[in-house]
Amino acid sequence: MEDCVVRPNITKSIKSNLVNTGTETFEFTNKAKKNLMITMVVGLVLSIVGVVTNMGAGNHEETTDGGHDATEMVTDQGDYGESVEVSEGGAAEHHGSPLWLKSLYNNLWINTIYFAGLALLGVFFFTIQYAAQAGWSAGIKRIPLAFGAWLPIAFGLIAILFFLAGPDLFHWTHSSLYDVNSEDFDEIVKNKASYFYWPMEAGSFPAFWVGRLVLFFGVWYLLFRKLRTLAFEEDIEGGESRWKRMRILSALFLVFFAYSSSIAAWDWVMSIDVHWFSTMYGWYSFASWWVACLALTTFLIIYLKENGYLSIVNTDVLHDMGKFVFAFSIFWTYLWFSQFMLIYYAHIPEETVYYMDRWTGKYSIFFFLNLIINFILPFFMLMTHGSKRQNRILKSICVVIILGHWLDFYLMITPGVMKYEGGFGFMEVGLLLVFLSSFLFVVLRQIAKAPLFASNHPMLEESKHHHV
């Protein structure tokens, strides 16, 4: 019967209908917008500086010893077996775009994937609260839900970048790898071809890969839209029916998410190092996104509270968010180590090559920095009871973690795309700033569209009195 009720354009009418129900709406002030814009412009300038400096350096390198580094890497690992040698040799020959452009694509891809994951995991947080019938989080759920507004942008960016920069990012997109008569022919990649190209012929259009991309984003976005609509309808009409329907949809989302997030991590990140694979990879990427998502959610709650909003969220809720960040930082480390440990101990050349590129040489410093920022720092800083209850400490740790897991994605992607030519400079910092500010802009705009918390949520009262 409830479907018969006419509800014209529910999101637009929601604010006017809710004036007197004791809820509150975030106002995305011009000052906040201006600050984000400034960050974006600074990021853009830094990126351009980065591109220009890279252009100079890249040309220089290409005239002197273009591709030499990559060849050197092969000789370093000469005793690792022929298959690796063939593959790395192949990568060196597909030098593709000039270095600055490759570096730009690489950075765009890191940020695109990182923020796509944050957007997805925001919806994941929301759905997991519903599926678990959690009461404590009733006042904060709409903040991670708003991350979902980035999903269509993430889809656009991934699609455009893939078609623009596919050959530079993904070794497997080179059709000569699948041609028996070509000297680039690579049997290992050929055996994996159907994962990318099915039902098309290997080396043609990667229909399966693109199909998954479209399917995943389609389902994620549709469920996000549906959940958002139901949440807003509940504000106006109350009752428990929407809450129940959201529970069902959330459970569906979670089942789909469990498969799709893992496969997405293989597709977007793991397939860069196409010869290598890890059964931990999906979980590992999920953990990285998840910690970052929790940190960003916590940060935004504190930001909103400091600006006078969300007074219904008490210190105990933030304490629990702090516990989440703390616990999942350890979880991330656990997965990081589980992936590393088995490969380290088994010492199989095809597997160790991934860690050889990261542990030794140019990326070594980031490799260890990654562990320090994402494990040692949150572990000791968030260990005590008091630190999770102090907004200042919690907030700064969250910022560090958000940057730290960006670094994690940098480490997953850069050595695969850039080989030994990657670096860390203006472009990395600049593009991160551009993406971070755009993401926050979209999210804050989305948050401002509806009340900050669900005034008719059946467990709102529990959330207000949450006590740990």
Binding site: F337, F340, M341, Y344, Y345, H347, M383, T384, H385, H467
Partner: protein, 175 residues
């Protein structure tokens, strides 16, 4: 008055009454030694004015001890006592130590915390816990007030406890 420690016990039927009673009794200047309940009462430690327990610090210390022990043991065995080449690794392969480091840290931290708790809660084997009222394991909440620790007379304390909503007031002496 008999020798030993004399207590006045207030028996309460409901945890909400108990929480209000604790607040009220403390406001009237009576110091409560302990409150016993059949189940955890949310927020009772706040109204009782308890400080944070130092158990967490004990746990951390035991954890550090476990970490140190595991590290010493493994380096001693693998690096000093009987170095062996395993899978071409170093004699002291740190990554391979991590699982043991983790386990020993967790183990000693947990055991140490349980042991510490047993000692401070007077549950050590030779300890004789004070049982104020056996019904706190069933459906009653009991507030124990040490008469000598308060500057008030027994009658005054009983009056205050009674006014706070206790269903019974009893005496108990531990020698």
């Amino acid at each position: 008055m008999s020798n030993g420690t004399n207590y006045v016990l207030g028996v309460y039927e409901d945890e909400d009454v108990l929480k209000d009673a604790v607040r009220q009794v403390r406001e009237n200047g009576v110091e409560i030694e302990e409150v016993y309940s059949p189940f955890p009462v949310h927020g009772i430690e706040d109204v009782l004015g308890y400080k944070r327990s130092w158990m967490a610090r004990a746990a951390f210390a035991f954890g550090v001890l476990g970490f140190a022990l595991a590290l010493t043991m493994q380096i001693g065995m693998m690096g000093v006592d009987w170095p062996m080449i395993i899978g071409g690794k170093d004699f002291v392969p740190f990554p391979a130590f991590v699982p043991v480091l983790f386990e020993m840290t967790v183990l000693l931290s947990a055991f140490g915390m349980v042991g510490t708790f047993f000692v401070i809660a007077n549950l050590k084997p030779w300890g004789r816990p004070k049982i104020f009222d056996i019904r706190v394991t069933d459906d009653k909440h009991v507030m124990a007030v040490d008469i000598d620790a308060n500057g008030k007379s027994e009658a005054d304390i009983k009056e205050i406890i009674k006014a706070s909503g206790a269903s019974e007031i009893n005496n108990k002496t531990f020698v």
